[in-house]
């Protein structure tokens, strides 16, 4: 069943008809999502969260290419995210670039920085690489903060987007982001099935063995950083327009860590895992803060806080729950949500046994 007869089967986007059908169903779901949702929920809020999830999914895919497929760690992706956001907004603000030109340019600028960060990564591993990438992320935001060109510490307001003279609404932006996210997902899946992707995976499994097999380490490691940075940069550009205002302070270390958490919780080395990880973590992050508004549980928490804790810090429960969920997923599914998916699939395939 798993034997491939020729190369083209190997690089096919959809491994089986089932996946194809599900993918189409998912795309249809994305397309009619605003329709479905508006019967039960106000549109803008849900669309906003969907947009945020899509942007985070692009970042998570990009980071997964680096972390999950190539085996390099990065604690500095907020830096690429910031580069993407600022280099998208500035050309549009200052020189009236259209979005569909500014966005790829931002991606490429970001990937140049990715290439630069990839150079020390040729020699560094583990904690050493972690510190180098962490420093990179902090340096980028500090530089942006100190250059008046980037609006300095005051931040920048993203311009209103127009298409053929009509201003784009959230809902139009939703389709734009979804289209880009779908394209980039397909791109990532494709890339991982080609020579490049296989080289990445070889480096992850053992870089020395990969080099012995003729994989050019310098080329592929920096390429992995560059591709990852490209994804993150494009996502950053979109993020700027979702928020409408960007400020270097927002791109801090916690953001990089959240990205990493999305990838690990979703499942290392799985594109679909990245998407689910991004969706889960983003949704929790926004929804958990209303935890003390839950009917019975919430008031019990308030009483408990009054007795034993402090009332002023009650919102911290959300942080605790978030951290706990993160730990539990990694504890019980080392492969993340993706691992859970594989297990369920196996269970059904082999069912009566």
């Amino acid at each position: 069943m798993d034997i491939k007869r020729d190369y083209y089967e190997d690089i096919e986007l959809f491994r089986s008809g089932t996946i194809l059908v599900w993918s189409i169903l998912f795309l249809i779901f994305l397309a009619i999502f605003p329709w479905l949702i508006q019967k039960y929920h106000p549109l803008g809020f849900s669309i906003y969260i969907a947009n945020l999830i899509a942007v985070h999914a692009i970042v998570a895919i990009g980071l997964n290419i680096l972390v999950g497929y190539t085996g390099q760690i990065s604690l500095g992706h907020a830096g690429f995210f910031a580069i993407g956001a600022f280099t998208t907004v500035i050309p549009i603000l200052k020189w009236d670039f259209p979005l569909f030109i500014a966005l790829p340019i931002a991606g490429f600028i970001s990937s140049i920085f990715g290439f630069i960060l990839g150079l020390p990564a040729l020699r560094l591993k583990g904690p050493y690489l972690a510190i180098a990438t962490l420093g990179f992320g902090m340096t980028i935001t500090t530089i942006i903060k100190h250059m008046e060109f980037f609006g300095g510490r005051m931040g920048l307001q993203a311009p209103k987007l127009e298409f053929l003279g009509t201003p784009l609404k959230d809902i139009h932006f939703y389709y734009l982001i979804m289209a880009i996210a779908v394209l980039m997902t397909i791109g990532a899946i494709k890339l991982m099935r080609t020579r490049v992707g296989r080289a990445f995976i070889a480096i992850r499994d053992s870089d020395i063995a990969a080099e012995a097999m003729g994989v050019n380490l310098t080329y592929y490691k920096t390429l992995s950083f560059a591709v990852s940075a490209f994804y993150t940069g494009v996502a950053g550009g979109l993020y700027a327009f979702i928020l409408g205002f960007i400020n270097p302070e927002s791109f801090h270390l916690i953001m990089s860590i959240t990205f990493l958490a999305m990838v690990v919780v979703g499942g290392l080395g799985s594109i679909m895992g990245s998407i689910t990880g991004a969706a889960l973590m983003t949704y929790l992050d926004i929804k958990l803060q209303a935890i003390q508004d839950l009917p019975a549980f919430g008031s019990a928490l308030v009483v408990f806080s009054q007795k034993y804790m402090s009332v002023s810090g009650i919102s911290n429960i959300a942080v605790i729950v978030y951290g706990l969920i993160m730990i539990l997923i990694v504890l019980f599914e080392p492969l993340g949500i993706f691992g859970f998916w594989i297990r369920t699939k196996k269970y059904w395939k082999t069912w009566p046994f």
Binding site: I73, I131, A132, S206, S305, Y308, M309, N316, I320
Partner: protein, 290 residues
Amino acid sequence: MLAQLIVSGLAVGACYALLALAMVIIYKTSEVLNFAQGEMAMLSTFVAFTLLDAYHVPFHWAALLTFLFAILLGIFFEVVFLRQAKDPTVLGLIIITLGFEMILMGFAGWKWGPDQRSFPFPVSNIETYNFHGLVISKINFWTIVVSLALMFVLFLFFRYTKLGTAMRATQQNPIAARVMGIRTKRILSFTWALSSLIGAVAGMLIAALGILDPPMMMDPLLKGFAAGVLGGMTSLPGTAIGGAILGIIENLFGGYVSLAFKSVVAFAIIVLMLCIKPSGLLARHYVKKV
């Protein structure tokens, strides 16, 4: 000014070194990057604060109780969370420590609220020792002494005691260590207890130097991590050298070049240095066999 900058750099470097020490001990035995280190220290410091402030326990008792708490906290984390992970990846372990960090941060915020507090400490952070015009505050001086002493003791411990040898064995080859009769699980718990204890010492000193609030350890932890990496992540004397270099570079750069880039310049130098010595200053560079 130059001499004063170097002295202040050494003083702040000692704090970095203490945190680096705590991280290095863990990394040495289990190859986990413990991002919860700072928050574990912060929580212990808050416990000490509560004992001192609300129950008026004398300082030495409060410190002892806090150390006990820190040890239990370290063991708790190892046994309840880390040990449960089945064939974890390195990244998975990092995420677990990050999750634990969030839990601790949330807990501290919930229990003590977000207000800044001053940590009552017997040694003043304003009174100073004066060496021919060079000023160092009493607490800074004692921080340097404590970190050097701790490092020396730990160095001897790892080199000459049975337990220390067992810890090194566990790091180098856990399976072989277990075959030789070392209870590796117990060794790991012990490592976490030890690291959490050192963290608590660092936390109390850092709180006394500045103020006490839930996010107080975020910046020191990063710097401590950087100092550890600079020194070589597996070397105990390396942490002292890493911390001192980091503190001095930061202060000199801040004093003579630019204050704005002071906190990031350290990272730039570390990256450059690591390009030359990829495993830090004092660690031997192992190349994995294939």
